[in-house]
């Protein structure tokens, strides 16, 4: 597929180009900052954008802002945000923006070449992929939620894997379980959290994340955005 990269470090930019081309993809543009991004996106029309969070000139959250801009102008364009550090607050904002597929991964993950390429491909196909670190943060922030307290340790592990965007098959492989018991766990989790248990891969991730996210900081458990999670998970019937 055709990929656009926006990353300020020359070393990493070149590394990413090499990696992706090695994986059989085409890098249509590699930008050092987000200034030319919108123009490049409209001319090159890529299938996926990879953005770094900290970009010149201010090195704070330019990448996140660029991602939001892309969400507004081209909501269906898959975006992968890479960062030296992952922050649940950025992830929550991206999820709240409700666009197409998106990924949010630590830059370190690039070192696992095979897995990284696979993540990129899954995002391009419409999946949502979150770094385990982000999910751990979301879980930490929600750990005082009453409904989260009801989950068993095993269910919590499954929920983490679910929120990272893994398929049932991959969760089963990860936790050495049968796919049937993974399905059982997921059904139990969705029941306890009051989410619509549909089978649409990406939707269930969003449902789980929507439950985990804590937009706007300290929200009382009772004020959690139930409406949001049910509309996102939808009803498959």
């Amino acid at each position: 597929m055709r990929i656009l990269i926006c990353e300020d470090s020359v070393l990493l930019r070149e590394g990413l180009v090499r990696l992706l081309e090695h994986g059989g993809h085409e890098v249509v543009a590699a930008l050092p900052d987000a200034r030319e991004l919108m123009g490049e996106v409209s001319t090159a029309d890529p299938d996926l954008c990879i953005l770094d969070v900290r970009l010149p000139p201010s090195y704070t959250d330019e990448g996140i802002r660029a991602a939001h801009e892309l969400r507004r102008t081209r909501p269906q364009l898959p975006v992968l945000v890479l960062s030296q550090y992952v922050e649940e607050r950025y992830a929550s904002e991206m999820i709240a923006a409700q666009g197409g597929a998106f990924g949010y991964l630590l830059k370190d993950r690039v070192a696992d070449v095979g897995e990284f390429i696979e993540s990129v491909e899954r995002i391009a196909q419409g999946a949502t992929v979150l770094d385990p670190e982000v999910v751990a943060q979301l879980l930490t922030r929600r750990s005082r939620d009453d409904r989260m307290q009801q989950l068993t340790d095993r269910e919590r592990t499954v929920l983490s894997a679910l929120a990272e965007g893994r398929s049932n098959q991959s969760i089963a492989a990860l936790l050495f379980l049968s796919e049937a018991s993974v399905e059982k766990h997921i059904t139990a989790i969705f029941q306890k959290l009051g989410l619509g248990a549909d089978e649409g891969g990406n939707r269930r991730v969003l449902a789980a994340i929507a439950h985990l996210e804590n937009v706007g900081g300290p929200v009382a458990a009772s004020m959690l955005n139930d409406h949001n999670s049910t509309t996102q998970s939808g009803t498959a019937s």
Partner: protein, 447 residues
């Protein structure tokens, strides 16, 4: 509601019911070992206001006159004795050691006079003259005592107070002399019965007026000489607090730098060296033993990833850029999630605060969690952060570990305390043997 004392049960108390104490106090920790508070002054304390003389001006003038009359002869004798002893001390010190002893005693005597005078003036006129205190010794031992004595001997405030006493003595003599005139006038008034305008009455009026005048003058002079010390005292306190903050900032930076250097030196550097070695070995083996070389490369790959993670966590503990663009609450998520001990976060904050305050609290929490992971053997940590109504950002980190945390120079707690002190805040550590450990920090956060 106060903090739960003792070990938190595995099923945590719902934090929502806990309110931060208005002013976190030792008393709120239930029956525990004695406190070892580590308090730093933050606000310059104004000198204590003495009890204002509640009586009106006439009474105060009368009191002044009486005091002056008493100080007159006593003070004159005392001042004469002091100066006499000074001469004697100087003279004898050239001959014998006795003179030196006399001079030492003289410093104490002068100090006593100065102390008495400052107390007298603050009592009489109700101005907050700071109490004159003996120069503190920097360390035990004779040398330090002698140094303090010498410093006390040339203390300006003491001598100003003594000067006021000397002036009061002279005025006192004047008052006595005028009182004599007054009495003379009184006697002559009774002795003569002729005219209305007798010299006796005139003398009486003149002397009485002069006495009152002296009393008023005494007040003006005393307030001018000693009153200036009030402002000076406040400035001194402010300077002391400011320099303490500066020292805290410098020390905190030093401690932090040392820690970063040590973390890099002990953690990441050797790891990278071993990666380079492993790759070097793989390079040599690649022709002869491709399978072995592959294994070595995989090993190097794993080590590299570990080094990257370590670097990330190290950098994250020093500073988080999310702190700048999303604030303290957002920045704490990653801290809590990467902690080795499970952390319960309870943060209720408005959006943003002053950067220094946010950074100091962030650093304190980051360091506390690192410390707890290293030493406490705790199974759970709780972090509470609130904005207090007195304009302070307040955080409490508790663990259910073994306690007995101590501030060691250059250690984590030392770094926290200095950093918080530099931000103008206070730290309180409570860590009895057997736990639990509680660290509370407050930092002013006016925004």
């Amino acid at each position: 509601m106060s903090a739960p004392a003792g070990r938190p049960a595995p099923t945590a108390v719902p934090y929502a019911q806990q309110q931060p104490p208005q002013v976190p106090q030792a008393a709120q920790h239930g029956p525990q070992a004695p406190q070892r508070p580590a308090q730093h002054p933050t606000v310059p304390q104004a000198a204590k206001q003495p009890r204002e003389a509640r009586q009106g001006p006439p009474f105060r003038i009368a009191l002044t006159i009486l005091q002056l009359a008493a100080i007159g002869p006593v003070g004159s004798m005392l001042v004469t004795t002091l100066f006499g002893s000074f001469g004697l001390g100087i003279g004898l010190s050239l001959l014998l050691g006795v003179g030196l002893l006399l001079l030492v005693a003289l410093v104490y005597a002068v100090f006593g006079v100065a102390w008495f005078e400052s107390q007298r003036i603050s009592g009489l006129y109700g101005i907050a003259v700071p109490t004159i205190v003996w120069q503190p010794q920097t360390e035990p031992g004779f040398k330090a005592w002698f140094k303090a004595l010498c410093q006390q001997a040339i203390n300006g405030r003491m001598w100003r107070s003594v000067a006021n006493f000397v002036i009061a003595s002279l005025m006192g003599m004047g008052v006595l002399w005028l009182a004599q005139g007054f009495v003379h006038g009184l006697i002559s008034m009774f002795n003569t019965t002729s005219s209305v305008l007798q010299p006796g009455i005139v003398g009486m009026l003149l002397c009485g007026g002069a006495i009152v005048g002296l009393a008023l003058l005494h007040r003006i002079v005393s307030v001018a000489i000693l009153g200036s010390a009030v402002a000076e005292e406040q400035l001194e306190t402010q300077v002391r607090v400011t320099s303490q903050q500066r020292e805290g900032a410098v020390r905190a930076a030093d401690v932090e730098r040392t820690r970063i250097e040590r973390d890099l030196h002990d953690g990441v550097q050797p790891r990278l060296v071993s990666v380079a070695m492993t790759l070097g070995l793989a390079q040599q083996k690649i022709e002869t033993d491709p399978a072995g070389a592959k294994e070595l490369v995989a090993e190097a790959h794993t080590s590299t990833k570990a080094a990257i993670t370590e670097l990330r966590q190290l950098a994250r503990g020093i500073y988080a850029s999310v702190l700048d663009d999303r604030g303290l609450d957002a920045a704490l998520s990653a801290l809590a999630a990467r902690s080795h001990i499970p952390v319960q976060l309870d943060v209720r904050l408005a959006d943003r605060y002053e950067r220094t305050a946010e950074a100091a609290i962030y650093f304190a929490i980051a360091e506390s969690l690192t410390n707890a992971a290293k030493h406490s053997r705790a199974s759970e940590c709780r972090v509470m952060v609130r904005e207090r109504s007195d304009g302070m950002l307040w955080a409490r980190v508790e663990d259910n570990g073994i306690g007995n945390a101590r501030v060691v120079a250059g250690g984590g707690l030392d770094g926290i305390m200095n950093r918080v002190l530099a931000a103008g805040g206070t730290t309180r550590l409570d860590s009895p043997q057997g736990g639990p450990t509680t660290l509370e920090v407050s930092v002013p956060c006016a925004f």
